[in-house]
């Protein structure tokens, strides 16, 4: 069993160890939730083209700040003024590091507490939900901004004061009280169902819709699996605004294949962390499923990973990683450990939050690269994982066609030798 010790990020003001029961704090559990109301935003399910959203109405210009943006930013600013955040992130100095990629560094001494570190198990990507640990039903209702659901009426709607449907758990957007940037929120799918931190098709599609609804290429969503620096084992995504390109978005890519459903999959080139890029798709759902199939494959194979949804849902990055494992095995350079940077999705994408002034002042593209290179899978291992992923995508595409399901020998394999994957063709991957 591999573990590392670190101070978890506090995302809610109620995230304490040894919580008293029976709260009276207006949380989202059975004790308080009856009759509770929250604003509700419902989005319209998209039809065919991913581009349909751009062509709606006369708004073919750079659209005005979208409704969802106004709602999210307005509610966020409201919570700022009510003092719900642990610090004012806009006071934190931030800069783009000069260099080819423009890594972003922020000096944030307040984000990481001077607390006693907790132990995290890092060798199991799938762990079952533990009621006793902190989860998002324990947050105070004031930390929740609004419910986010699919519309039943085929159009975008907003209800300023909608009751929470306990039987059909809504998905909600809540604040992250230790924000990396202005507008940092958490998207919690079907919060009352208390799903563990693992991606499923429906949840990922919801996350993708959030980026398309926001309509700004600078509003990005991220996901960290367990073992890849997720702090809380309750299904959640993170999101915030940053109006500069992320370094990973600038990296060149090389196309691997285009799936039958129009999803183009490429490999990142010349970037410290190896990863895949998903784009296109005949429908948003096709794109979503290609990514979630890949994530599920990684989860089932116990490979930690991070996901970045960028460009308003048009480009999705998938990074399998192994830093936590290396850390547990004592294989990480002490100098890097001292920076206390836990390379989760934002760091991997190129946004580094630094705790020490020295690290901030000396931040360079070279340093950032060096840290992130430690996170990446080796070339050999990445190719193996890539083959695994393609096998999973292909077999799931076949199932959709009604042809016989591929033998799922991908299951509990730890060693893969000479996979016979032929990406892009309708052949079954069989691993020996």
């Amino acid at each position: 069993m591999l573990r590392i010790k670190r101070v978890p990020t506090v995302v809610s003001n109620y995230q304490k160890e040894g919580l008293e029961e029976g709260c009276g704090r207006n949380c989202l559990r059975k004790c308080c939730i009856q009759g509770a109301k929250l604003p509700l935003y419902t989005f319209k399910r998209m039809g065919n083209l991913v581009y349909e959203k751009d062509l709606i109405g006369d708004e073919k210009r750079v659209p005005p700040v979208s409704f969802l943006d106004s709602l999210l930013l307005g509610e966020w600013e409201d919570r700022m003024q009510r003092g719900l955040f642990r610090y004012d992130v806009t006071v934190c100095e931030t800069k783009v590091i000069p260099g080819e990629y423009g890594f972003i560094a922020q000096l944030n001494e307040g984000r990481h507490l001077k607390k006693r570190p907790t132990e995290f198990r890092v060798d199991k990507v799938l762990q079952s939900f533990d009621e006793n640990k902190f989860n998002f039903t324990k947050v105070g209702k004031e930390e929740v901004l609004f419910q986010f659901e699919e519309s039943k009426d085929d159009e975008v709607q907003f209800f300023p004061n909608a009751p929470i449907d306990i039987d059909n758990s809504p998905s909600v957007v809540a604040i992250n009280v230790s924000p990396i940037e202005y507008g940092h929120v958490l998207l919690i799918p079907r919060i009352l169902e208390c799903l563990p931190q693992r991606i499923d098709h429906e949840s990922f599609l919801l996350a993708l819709y959030m980026t398309t609804e926001a309509g700004s290429p600078y509003f990005r969503l991220g996901y960290n699996s367990l073992g890849a620096f997720a702090t809380i084992n309750h299904l959640h995504f993170q999101a915030y605004y940053l109006a500069v390109p992320f370094p990973v978005e600038k990296a060149p890519t090389q196309k691997i294949t285009t799936l039958g459903v129009g999803v183009k999959i490429s490999e990142l080139l010349n970037y410290p962390v190896r990863g895949l890029v998903f784009e296109g798709g005949n429908t948003l759902q096709d794109l979503s499923n290609a990514v979630s199939d890949s994530c599920i494959c990684l989860q089932d194979n116990n490979i930690p990973y991070n996901v970045l949804i960028s460009d308003s849902g048009k480009r999705i990055f998938l990074f399998p990683q192994c830093y936590a494992e290396k850390q547990a095995l004592g294989e990480v350079n002490a100098e890097l450990l001292d920076t206390q940077v836990n390379p989760a999705v934002w760091e991997i994408s190129g946004h580094m939050v630094l705790k020490r002034k020295k690290d901030y002042e000396e931040a360079s593209e070279e340093n950032a690269w060096r840290l992130l290179a430690e996170v990446s899978l080796s070339e050999e291992r990445f190719q193996e994982v890539k083959a695994l992923i393609f096998g999973a995508i292909e077999s799931s595409n076949e199932e959709a066609d009604g042809t016989p399901k591929c033998p799922k020998e991908l299951g509990a394999m730890s060693k893969i030798t000479h996979p016979t994957a032929v990406p892009g063709k309708q052949e079954c991957l069989v691993l020996h």
Partner: protein
């Protein structure tokens, strides 16, 4: 459970609002030319054979304000379908997202970019072109007035017979030459013996022929030196037309930034971002004496009845009048002094001297250094029928505007090499 559905209002309020917005936008577009250049600039631009568009980053939406004849022919759109729209309407499913991002960044950083890009005609046909974007600077204060974008269709060699065009996959040389003949025919009808136009026709045709259905479109495309030269030459001629005609109004422009941005003026990237915020608000700069207004939204101008040049550079106190409560003014001043947010209900006056109750919310806005760069003041006219009602309470919309301003100011001041914001 009542919905403040956006959909419910769509038929009546939305259409009316959109129509008014479009009308006022077209007014702004005309003004964009008239303020800067002499009356004959449009004719002069129309005489240029190149494909290009001119956009104005200061108008909300960063719309196209001019499209050349060549551009309209190339893209298949009519003038009315293009003016007022943003360049993204020419993008489509196979347009490389990374290239789009690079163009966005060049605009943000107010610099030139030359990049190959896949665009789509009105009829849906994709085509590759060399896209060359250049900012146009005001000589007076160095700010970006317009962007000029030149599009040179990329012509490629004939491929093997196997490549067809159009959706049927018909693969014969006869098909291709038949199409070529048709194109030539219509070209000849319009333009007589103009070798440039003929060349353009051939180039456009070549670009089409290379296209396939959907998935087989090439990943990238390289422009030839000749095409790059064409782009450079085009930009030069356009800039020289603009410079000449701006000389006649005395408000000179040039292709390179000649002077530092003027006192307190915002870079165009911040202007573009702020232009997306629909609420009435101003940005004031506490670093200059008397805290002048450095940005005023269109909605603010509509609310108060002033023109932009009448408010920029002035302190907000011109909105106060005979019956404005001194205590409210004091409260505002005090909050600013202590760097706090504040909300006051204050009696303000429009240009025509009529008064209105202003639910004013003021907040400090920090930039990437973490220090206060501006103050934002968001106005709500009490009792006013909410324009474009979106179901958000006035307070929420006010805070939403504050949030959007904070995001824009903070992140747009981060870049190495981004202009003053």
């Amino acid at each position: 459970m009542r919905a403040h559905g956006i959909g419910i209002h769509r038929c009546t309020k939305e259409t009316r609002r959109r129509r008014t917005t479009m009308e006022s936008q077209l007014g702004l577009i005309d003004q964009s030319f008239d303020d800067q250049y002499s009356t004959w600039v449009r004719e002069a631009l129309d005489e240029l054979p190149d494909n290009f568009t001119i956009t104005d980053p200061c108008i909300s939406g960063h719309p196209i304000i001019f499209a050349s004849r060549g551009f309209l022919k190339m893209s298949g759109y009519s003038k009315d379908e293009v003016i007022g729209r943003n360049g993204r309407i020419f993008q489509g499913p196979n347009t490389n997202r990374k290239s789009v991002m690079e163009i966005r960044e060049a605009i943000r950083e107010e610099r030139t970019i030359q990049i190959t890009l896949l665009n789509y005609r009105k009829d849906g046909m994709p085509f590759w072109m060399l896209f060359h974007l250049s900012p146009v600077f005001s000589k007076e204060d160095g700010r970006v007035i317009h962007f000029v974008a030149v599009q040179v269709p990329i012509s490629r060699k004939w491929r093997s017979f196997g490549i067809g065009f159009g959706r049927n996959g018909g693969n014969s040389v006869e098909d291709e030459s038949r199409l070529r003949g048709v194109v030539f025919g219509s070209c000849r009808r319009e333009v007589c013996a103009d070798s440039m136009a003929e060349l353009a026709c051939v180039q456009v045709l070549d670009a089409y022929v290379e296209l396939d259905r959907g998935l087989d479109i090439e990943e990238s495309c390289v422009a030839s030196d000749l095409e790059k030269q064409k782009a450079e030459t085009a930009i030069d001629s356009i800039l020289s037309v603009l410079t000449h005609h701006s000389g006649l109004t005395g408000r000179l422009v040039c292709g390179k930034r000649c002077s530092l941005a003027g006192k307190g003026l915002l870079g165009s990237s911040l202007n573009i971002s702020l232009g997306r915020i629909k609420q009435s608000f101003v940005l004031t700069d506490p670093h200059f004496s008397d805290m002048p207004i450095v940005y005023a939204s269109d909605a603010f101008l509509r609310l108060t009845g002033y023109a932009r040049h009448e408010v920029l550079g002035r302190n907000c106190r011109f909105l106060n009048g005979p019956d404005t409560d001194a205590e409210a003014i004091f409260h505002i001043r005090d909050s600013i002094r202590t760097e706090q947010t504040c909300t006051v209900r204050i009696l303000n006056y429009r240009k025509d001297k009529s008064s209105f109750w202003n639910l004013l919310h003021i907040s400090p806005v920090r930039n990437a250094s973490g220090k206060i760069a501006f103050y934002v003041g968001v106005q709500i006219e009490e009792g006013c029928k909410n324009e474009g009602d979106q179901g958000l309470s006035p307070k929420m919309r006010q805070l939403g505007a504050v949030g959007a301003v904070k995001v824009a100011v903070r992140t747009l001041s981060m870049g190495a090499g981004s202009s003053k914001s």
